[in-house]
Amino acid sequence: MPHIGLDIGSRNIKLAVMEAGKIATLKKEESGFDPLERCRNLLASCPVGPITATGYGRHLVEKTFSCGTVSEISAFARGALFFDPSVRTVIDVGGQDSKAIRVDGAGRVMAFEMNDKCAAGTGKFLEIMARALEMTIDEFGDRGHRNESRVRISSLCTVFAESEVISLIGRGADRRSIAYALHEMAAERASSLVSRVGVAPTVMLAGGCARNPLFTALLAEKLARPLVVGEFPEFAGAIGAALVE
């Protein structure tokens, strides 16, 4: 029987249909202002099977779809092991939160850390900064950026960082250097979160930010090891939810 995992995140809803331990379907939609309706749309074309919801909207859909729920932490731990069973540390940098998880070989969470109520260094942060620099997300996360102007962003707060960016533009720093410095700040933030739970030899980066090459490269540099990035990093939570008993 197919198992369905639904990850209702702050920016996107991800759906995974798992059959016999393999990915059958993966789908994604923006969460928007009516995530429940978006979930209905996503589920409409799905085979029937037990659903497990995760993500910040999990309790929203719990009753409507009479489904089980699991926290993002357990879901990402399980999902990471699906991609690579040797992973023992998982970092998820999502739309509005980031988490670091230490997991054992059975997929059990041993320790975890999450950012506090502020969204510093997350996907939303990078998105707003890209907009301030008038860059597309792809341009912004280009691995070829170098910090030629030697600028440094010191604010963790999105609002303050944005004004820092504006004053750097005012001082004539080039965009690519600023983009580099912003990624460096976000990577530093993620690495400090990870170091609190312990950095295992095999570390996986999941969540939408794993699609950002510059962020991934800088985080790997800070952790002094290559990062495992699954084939569908933003689906790790949905896949994990589908696989959780």
């Binding site: 910040y56 926290s71 993002e72 932490i73 059990r108 975890f112 999450m114 506090d116």
Partner: protein, 426 residues
């Protein structure tokens, strides 16, 4: 509720806003407390106390003051209750656990001050706390930088502060300083009340305070049962009420409740399904009506079985010897008892780790949630040490304030933590 408007008006409260506050409190209590299932009947008394939190208890204190007693406000478990009672005073905990009057408080305090300090300021400045208004003296203590500076400003507003200089270490010199501070408080209380504090009066007062502590210890021990016979929320409430209720009546009612809980333990009646993860909450105090973390934990399926906190074990863990060979001996013993308290304001503070481990084992705890008020440097810092000492034991660090803006994130973390605890038990 009967009409206390005249009394509140005479105490200078802002009546319309005060009415709003009581309405809000009533609704919160209904939603958080009265929806709990299978509560012990003995909680009826404590429900009543809450329903009269600004009513009957205040009237009692107003009447007692008219009869010549003095109200002594405190903010901390380091202020010896024995001395207050021996001077025929009324001991009133003034810590506040709700976000009230923050804009007014921020005219005196930096924004990054902890919620507890802001709240006692806010309650005063917004004219919403009758307890502050029925005090004749407010005893502060040098337990953190935030409080030290806040008390200076609070004295400018109230003119009622007496500060006890609590040492930073428990060295011989520190103990000497504290002993002198206890004597200085005795003098201050004598001067205020006109009552001579004698060893006999201190022995009598110590008996009353110890009886209260023994009842709280009894409640704490009953929570070691599985399933736990009382919710963490109810036990927290009792610990909060311990700071302002009449101590003799409180002890009597708590012992009656514990008799009922004895029966429950025998019959294995619990408030949560057997096997619910048992959680110890450790860290900063939770002043009334701060029920946020317990509520989030227990509505997520946990059973909170202990509070390693000032509003909890730090308040009742140690008894004071009841036999004194004279006034100096009494003051020695009282001073010594208070220095057994393991607040993070001391350095080093290794006793606290030992006490956490002891509570964890005695209460058969599955996971520890370390709670620090946001901007509380002392408890936030110690959380790292506690985590390290507990090694792989399930541990969740929470840093929060009185607002509900982070309730969603906290709930996610708490649910993940409980999943982790359950999986680790498998």
């Amino acid at each position: 509720m009967s009409n206390y408007d005249q009394m509140w008006k005479e105490l200078g409260l802002d009546l319309p806003n005060h009415e709003g506050l009581l309405k809000f409190l009533g609704e919160a209590y209904q939603g958080i407390y009265l929806t709990q299932k299978n509560r012990p009947a003995g909680m009826g008394y404590f429900d009543f106390v809450i329903s009269e939190v600004h009513g009957l208890r205040i009237k009692e204190i107003v009447d007692a003051r008219k009869a010549g007693k003095k109200g002594i406000g405190t903010f901390c478990v380091y202020v010896p209750e024995e001395l207050v009672l021996a001077a025929n005073g009324i001991y009133i905990g003034l810590c506040a656990g709700a976000e009230v009057g923050t804009p007014q408080a921020e005219q005196y305090l930096p924004r990054n001050t902890c919620a507890l300090i802001k709240a006692f300021f806010g309650f005063k400045l917004a004219n919403l706390c009758p307890y502050g208004e029925v005090t004749d003296l407010i005893v502060g203590e040098t337990t953190c930088d935030g409080k030290k500076k806040a008390y200076e400003a609070f004295n400018d507003i109230t003119g009622k502060m007496h500060i006890m200089d609590l040492p930073n270490t428990k060295s011989a010199e520190g103990r000497k300083l504290w002993r002198a501070e206890v004597a200085r408080l005795k003098d201050k209380l004598e001067e205020l009340t006109g009552v001579k504090i004698t060893p006999e009066k201190l022995a009598e007062a110590t008996k009353i305070v110890n009886d209260k502590r023994r009842a709280l210890q009894r409640l704490a021990a009953l929570r070691a049962a599985d399933p736990t016979p009382i919710s963490g929320l109810d036990a927290l409430l009792i610990n909060q009420i311990a700071f302002y209720d009449d101590p003799i009546r409180f002890t009597d009612m708590l012992n009656k409740l514990c008799d009922e809980l004895d029966g429950r333990v025998k019959e294995k009646v619990g408030v949560v399904p057997a096997g619910a993860p048992r959680v110890l909450v450790s860290g900063s105090p939770m002043a009334i009506p701060n029920w946020k973390l317990h509520h989030l934990l227990e509505t997520s399926g946990a059973a909170v079985v202990g509070e390693e906190s000032c509003v909890g074990a730090r308040n009742y863990r140690a008894l004071t010897p009841e036999k004194f060979a004279g006034l100096d001996d009494a003051l020695d013993k009282i001073a010594e008892r208070y220095l057994t308290i393991d607040c993070a304001c001391f350095t080093p503070n290794d006793e606290r780790i030992e006490n956490i481990v002891k509570m964890r084992d005695e209460l058969k705890v599955d996971g520890i949630v370390h709670y620090a008020l946001q901007f509380c440097t002392l408890y936030t810092s110690e959380s790292f040490k506690v985590a390290k000492e507990l090694k792989e034991f399930p541990f969740l660090r929470v840093e929060t304030d009185y607002t509900m803006e982070d309730a969603g994130q906290l709930k996610t973390r708490i649910e993940a933590f409980l999943e982790m605890v359950r999986n680790r038990r498998k």
